[in-house]
């Protein structure tokens, strides 16, 4: 009996997984459809130009057929008008092809830009809390590489897939109109195409998808190995690992070739269909050609033969763009994995309340606040309450994972409490416009992000309208000035990616200079000295003490040195609850 239940249970589990996968797939499909719709006008325009190209091809081939018929009929004079029309149609085709190529590039660019802006909007709606779910490098890759990979999908696949049936069958129809028998043969061969695709295609499509996956995995493994190559070399295993890599590549090749042997039959079937159509029409038309009464009749037969490659061209274009199609699934899956927007973030705020602050700082009142990051997980913050007067300096300690960072992100307005309220200068944070909240707050984290740009840019961005005097004061107070002579170009030294690297202490001083410039009444710090050596920490504390003057501050830290900074309040948070809260004199 128990066995039966366990079987039932596992079946239900399996069904749930299947349903969930199906739901994921459905979401992906609707996302892809939405992308296609957004790009529809460009796709249709491209297909239209493509259709004109096909029509020009018909004119071209028709005139070619007439010229050939005249030559074969033994006439001494060939109609110059047909030669002229042939050249004209050729030129038209070249121009149309040129326009098509430029339009495709423009459409690909437009689609990528649109998608990128969509992603940006989504990122900013989520805000910095997004960085908790995903690594910044993978988010940045989504904005750049993932979007770039879709160029071919929008520029080539979409137009080709919307054009090929119409283009192919309009060619067949025109041939049929000229010569019924040839039209039937061509139509038959075109009809066989999807059948061939189905016979060889379905089996190989599944297998080849698996192969593409395997190839991707090999690629990822190779990249991973190369990134960690120092670790392997320093552990003395490089040669053994190289052999493993070689074996994996060889195994992949053998498996892939097994699939390709069948997969190439699919493309061979396209060749067969075209060649059969060609040979068949030639042989079938021999009597018609021999007894052709007029040049026009002969031209009709020649036209049918010459149109055969044209009938298969759209399908070839489609096959050539097939690999572009796979990209949309890859990118779509990555984008679907972005966490959904929490509902509370969508609330519209009136923005009427104004927080009050004094020259000592601003009051902060946290009342019964709770928060949960993931639905099934325990509360990250559980009924947290405390109060800071204007000018209070509170040191917040507690083991990691206790909820310190969650509390800080909430005070910064990145996330909103699921219960309780936070009053900043007497005004509820919920009713304030996000920009009004951030105007009151400065923040110093563990490691400040140094942007690509000069040192001046990196400090001034905290207050772009600040004067040179204010900048000088901030440099002085934060002690950035002390290391300016060490930098190659002083304040104009380029930092960040590809620029000069600052040490941990130097970077933290930049963060302090930013806070000085911004001059906000509430200062929040998240382990500002966690990555510094004790000597540097002592130096930084001197600057921080200057910064604290006239501000309310909440400092999360593990370092005991902060107890000398002039703290007036001590908070300890454990498992999401405030366990100790004492006011010091």
């Amino acid at each position: 009996m128990e066995n039966f239940y366990s079987v039932c249970f596992s079946f239900v589990c399996f069904a749930c997984i299947c349903l969930r996968m199906k739901a994921d797939k459905k979401m992906l499909k609707s996302w892809v459809r939405q992308q296609n719709r957004a790009n529809r006008s460009a796709t249709l325009l491209l297909a239209l130009v493509g259709m004109f190209n096909v029509l020009a091809g018909m004119v071209l081939v028709w005139n070619l057929a007439i010229i050939l018929a005249e030559v074969l009929a033994g006439g001494q004079k060939v109609g110059m008008s047909h030669l002229f029309l042939f050249i004209l149609a050729s030129v038209a085709r070249i121009i149309l092809g040129y326009v098509q190529e430029l339009l495709a590039a423009a459409s690909g660019e437009k689609a990528r830009k649109r998608l990128r802006r969509e992603l940006l909007a989504r990122f900013f709606a989520q805000g910095p809390a997004l960085l908790r779910h995903q690594h910044s490098a993978s988010l940045a890759a989504m904005l750049t590489d993932r979007v770039e990979a879709l160029e071919g999908y929008f520029a080539r696949w979409l137009p080709a897939s919307s054009l090929w049936v119409v283009a192919q069958w309009s060619v067949v129809l025109v041939v049929f109109w000229q010569d019924h028998r040839a039209g039937f043969i061509l139509g038959g061969c075109c009809l066989v195409l999807p059948v061939f695709q189905a016979v060889f295609g379905i089996a190989t499509a599944i297998a080849s998808r698996r192969q593409i996956l395997a190839l991707n995995r090999l690629q990822v493994r190779f990249l991973d190995r190369i990134r960690g190559i120092a670790t392997i070399v320093l552990s003395g295993n490089a040669e053994k690992d190289a052999q493993g890599l070689g074996q994996a590549a060889d195994e992949l090749r053998r498996r892939t070739m097994k699939v390709l042997r069948v997969a190439f039959l699919t493309s061979a079937s396209t060749d067969i269909a075209m060649i059969v159509a060609l040979v068949w029409i030639v042989i079938d038309q021999r009597h018609g050609l021999l007894h052709a009464g007029s040049v026009h009749q002969m031209a009709g037969i020649l036209f049918a033969v010459l149109m055969v490659p044209e009938a298969f061209a759209p399908f070839r274009a489609l096959s050539a763009a097939y690999q572009d199609r796979a990209q949309i699934t890859n990118s779509g899956e990555a984008i679907q994995k972005l966490p959904a927007l929490p509902e509370s973030m969508n609330q519209v705020v009136s923005g009427q309340a104004v927080p009050e602050h004094t020259r000592h700082g601003i009051a902060l009142d946290v009342r019964g606040v709770s928060y949960r990051w993931v639905n099934d997980h325990p509360l990250a913050l559980d009924d947290v309450s405390f109060h800071l007067e204007a000018g209070d300096v509170a040191v917040l300690t507690g083991p990691s994972g206790a909820g310190k960072s969650t509390l800080i992100e909430m005070l910064l307005g990145f996330i909103r409490p699921s219960q309780g309220e936070i009053l900043l200068g007497g005004a509820d944070l919920q009713t304030l416009h996000p920009s009004d909240v951030t105007r009151q707050i400065s923040w110093i984290g563990q490691k400040p992000v140094i942007f690509a740009g000069t040192l001046r840019d990196n400090i001034m961005f905290a207050a772009p309208e600040a004067s040179e005097d204010q900048l000088r004061d901030a440099l002085e107070a934060s002690s950035v000035r002390d290391y300016l002579p060490l930098l190659p170009d002083g304040l104009d030294t380029r930092l960040g990616e590809g620029g000069f690297g600052l040490s941990g202490g130097q970077a933290q001083r930049v963060a302090i200079a930013r806070a000085f410039l911004k001059n906000a009444p509430l200062l929040i710090m998240d382990e500002p000295t966690a990555h510094l050596d004790p000597a540097t920490e002592r130096d930084i504390l001197v600057s921080l003490r200057r910064l604290l003057k006239g501000r309310t501050a909440l400092i999360s830290t593990h370092s005991s040195q902060f107890h000398t900074i002039g703290e007036t309040k001590r908070l300890i948070i454990e498992r999401g609850k405030v366990t100790v809260q004492e006011t010091l004199s």
Binding site: R93, G127, Q219, R227, A268, V276, W443, T536
Partner: protein
């Protein structure tokens, strides 16, 4: 071109396959000529009332299908062989030269770009060499057939063919080679702006600069697209030009048929020539695009060749076997990554067997350089380092690394199972030994709690497990190596204070047969040390405990 030569050396072993692929491609092209020529001549023959046999036409059709199938199969098989070869070659080159040093410079991005470069080398054979060789070989055939029409026609067609198949692609290759760096620079700029935008989201929100940063990112995007547009436009121009040239060829052949401009040919011959010319020119119209690819491949080859070249200052291999003891002595060592700026100045230090020692100092003081010297990644400019009494410059490099193991924040966790991460390709280690190492690193309980145990997948750079757990698995890997000397280079970076303390206290439990050198910028207080060194401005001071 010199860069392509080093690639050619990799390919040499596969030349039979590659050559057979080319031959089949050529035969397949010939079969098309036969098919289309037959189609033309049969049509002509019937129309003028001659007797026509269709055997050859049918044969040509069948031949075409079969040859095309095998051509694809063989060229793809050859490509896959070459693909594996290039990767292995690149891996071995990197492992033999620059790799060890990469552990001391953070260069993940550069490596990813290099891997993309290696990937773009794949297209050299299938998408550049094969079509180019096919064009080269079909040129004389086309000219021979045209000669049966008239000399003038053969001359014109030959000229147009050469322009389209060789001159335009060469121009395109030069153009894309010239634009390559600029295109890549603008793309890299966009990527770094994206990283700033996303990584700096907290700063941007707090200082109200989201809009400004977004604008900057979009400006970088626009700059990149401007370059791309320039390239696309050039490509469209060249492609239109190629089409124009090939159409001109068709018009020439048609005029030859009709007796305009060119001497009049016999009707059937004229049509045969026309069909062959049309097919041949259609086949080469995409070659200018291959030229574009060629420019990109050249750049990729350049960068790969540059990366795999041996860097300066790499120590010699050495010949001596591993010494019996493992006491390390550093005597009066002076060293700098560049000539003019010594990081270590006249440094002396001793690490006795089984001793626990820490080396502390601010970042940039030369701590990691010392680790690089001990692991024989670099050789000291002056002074000597001995291991068990032997100068490590004389001991074989792999023997040094068998004795001295390294663990740092840069120790990579592979996107693989825990087992593979512990083994790193070795196959002589039992499960019991692995569990013992995990036990020592105090992570065995966690691994046991995972549903798949040792075979659990840990994700890209250990993303499925926490930072502290990852560092412990890396420690277990180092312990498994049986190396009697452990160098731990800032093992606490990236861990929060509590996890760091817990990790460091695991080290206290290790058995005393191993000596440990802990390199760090600060002590947490849980370390149990026999000796302490401090380093400041490249000079070492001993501090007894």
């Amino acid at each position: 071109m010199t860069q392509l030569r080093s690639l050619w050396n990799v390919w040499k072993g596969r030349w039979v396959r590659l050559f057979v692929g080319l031959i089949l491609t050529e035969l397949s092209v010939c079969s098309v000529f036969l098919l289309m020529g037959q189609t033309g001549s049969r049509l002509g023959l019937i129309a003028v009332g001659g007797a026509a046999a269709f055997g050859l036409l049918r044969f040509a059709g069948g031949l075409r299908v079969i040859l095309r199938y095998f051509e694809r199969l063989v060229t793809h098989d050859a490509t896959f062989h070459v693909l594996a070869d290039i990767r292995l070659w690149f891996y071995r080159q990197l492992a033999g030269g620059a790799a060890a040093g990469l552990g001391f410079r953070r260069s993940g991005d550069m490596l990813s770009r290099l891997v993309a470069d290696v990937q773009s080398l794949d297209s050299l054979y299938l998408r550049i060499l094969v079509p180019l060789a096919a064009a080269l070989l079909s040129l004389p055939i086309v000219i021979l057939i045209c000669l049966r029409g008239s000399f003038l026609l053969a001359l014109c067609i030959g000229l147009l063919f050469c322009l389209t198949a060789f001159v335009l692609p060469a121009l395109m290759a030069r153009l894309s080679y010239r634009w390559g760096p600029e295109l890549q620079r603008t793309q890299a700029d966009m990527n770094s702006q994206a990283l700033d935008l996303v990584g700096g989201m907290r700063e941007l929100r707090i200082f109200g600069q989201e809009d400004v940063a977004t604008e900057r990112f979009l400006a970088a995007e626009e700059a990149f697209y401007r370059m791309q547009r320039r390239r696309d436009r050039a490509m469209a121009h060249v492609h239109a030009l190629a089409l124009l040239l090939t159409r001109l060829g068709v018009v020439c052949a048609l005029c030859g048929c009709a007796g305009l401009v060119f001497p009049k040919e016999q009707a059937v011959m004229g049509i045969t020539v026309l069909f062959v010319v049309m097919t041949a020119l259609d086949n080469i119209v995409d070659l200018p695009r291959a030229g574009l690819l060629c420019g990109q491949v050249l750049h990729a080859a350049e960068r790969v060749a540059e990366a795999t070249a041996m860097p300066q200052g790499t120590p010699d291999e050495g010949t001596l076997p591993a010494p019996a003891g493992h006491e390390i002595e550093v005597r009066n060592v002076t060293f700098g990554w560049t000539e003019d700026r010594p990081v270590l100045k006249n440094v002396s230090l001793r690490l006795r067997e089984g001793e626990r020692t820490a080396l502390i100092g601010p970042s940039g003081a030369g701590k990691s350089s010392l680790a690089a010297l001990l692991l024989k990644v670099m050789s000291p400019g002056q002074g000597s380092i001995t291991l068990g009494g032997e100068n490590i410059a004389d001991v074989r490099t792999e023997m040094v690394r068998e004795k001295v193991a390294w663990l740092s924040q840069a120790s990579h966790l592979f996107d693989d199972t825990i087992r593979s991460n512990l083994l790193l390709g070795r196959d002589d280690i039992s499960d019991d030994a692995m569990w013992a190492a995990l036990e020592q690193a105090q992570i065995a309980d966690f691994v046991r709690s995972l549903p798949d145990g040792l075979d659990s997948w840990i994700g890209e750079n250990g993303s499925h497990i926490s930072g502290g757990q990852g560092r412990r698995i890396a420690l277990a890997r180092v312990l498994l190596s049986k190396a009697p000397v452990l160098i731990l280079d800032e093992p606490g970076t990236g861990l929060d204070a509590e996890t760091e303390r817990a990790f460091l206290s695991t080290l206290n439990g290790l058995d005393r047969s191993r000596s440990i050198l802990l390199i760090t910028h600060r002590l947490t207080g849980v370390e149990q040390l026999d000796h302490l060194w401090t380093i400041q401005d490249g000079s070492l001071t001993s501090r007894s405990l």
